[in-house]
């Protein structure tokens, strides 16, 4: 745990982090149109945070983002996922029913059948669940790496 990687790597990581994050959000949001989805996009964004962890020292990273932020991300993602599934029951549908599809509101535009270029505003609850799982995976994978990096440190101190 001496000094970190060189200044060139750190500046490159600063620039790349923004593009990785936006591309991850693109994958999450277009999960029902192009290859991708909640898990893949969440893993991409988590890899962006891991890039910051590896390019900087751990103290610098913990000065920008706290561990509690990622824990809250994980829990809120899980709650949003289950909540979306449970919200079908008061409306008179089954658990995990896609109750928003075809209603015309949020994500409810009617989709043309067959081969089409794809529209963002379709597919009912699937984009909401994509976002929920994306937030959960983002928090989960980031906090795993964060705890394991902390584990090396406490490993050396405990001797």
């Amino acid at each position: 745990m001496s000094d970190s990687l060189s200044k060139i790597i750190r500046t490159t990581a600063d620039v790349m982090f923004l593009f990785i994050t936006v591309f991850g959000f693109y994958i999450v949001l277009h999960g029902h149109l192009t290859p991708g989805g909640g898990f893949q996009g969440g893993a991409v964004i988590a890899t962006g945070f891991i890039l910051l962890i590896v390019a900087y020292k751990l103290e610098d990273f913990l000065g920008w983002f706290q561990k509690r932020t990622f824990q809250n991300c994980e829990m809120s993602g899980l709650v949003l996922f289950i909540g979306t599934a449970l919200a079908a029951i008061p409306l008179g549908y089954l658990f995990f029913m896609n109750f928003l599809n075809g209603t015309g509101g949020l994500f409810g535009q009617a989709v043309p059948f067959g081969i089409n270029p794809g529209f963002l505003n379709t597919a009912g609850t699937i984009p909401i669940m994509n976002i929920a799982v994306g937030i959960e995976v983002l928090g989960g994978l980031s906090i795993i790496i964060l705890y394991m990096t902390t584990g090396i440190r406490s490993h050396e101190e405990g001797e």
């Binding site: 994958i27 290859p35 893993a43 890899t47 891991i50 790496i145 394991m148 990096t149 490993h155």
Partner: protein
């Protein structure tokens, strides 16, 4: 002609998988695991599974190697025999 690419990628998967088992240095094994993951992702791509290819890419390119190297750093990097 796509079959030749397919066969080449499969042979590459076999070579890297054997190399993972054969390497005595654990860092070299982790590096080879990254190459195995790359070739596995091309295989998924050829078998028309882009969702799985993206998942394998996102996991194998960053997170898996990171976890292995943190564990190797915390323990030791030569295999006991």
């Amino acid at each position: 002609m796509i079959e030749i690419i397919h066969i080449l990628v499969l042979i590459g998967i076999l070579i890297t998988a054997a190399l993972i088992v054969w390497q005595k240095n654990l860092v070299a094994a982790a590096v080879t695991f990254a190459a195995f993951s790359f070739l596995l992702s091309i295989e998924f791509y050829i078998l028309q599974a882009p969702d799985v290819a993206i998942a394998e890419a996102a996991v194998g390119a960053g997170i898996s190697t990171a976890i292995y190297l943190i564990a190797i750093r915390a323990t030791h990097d030569q295999e006991v025999t």
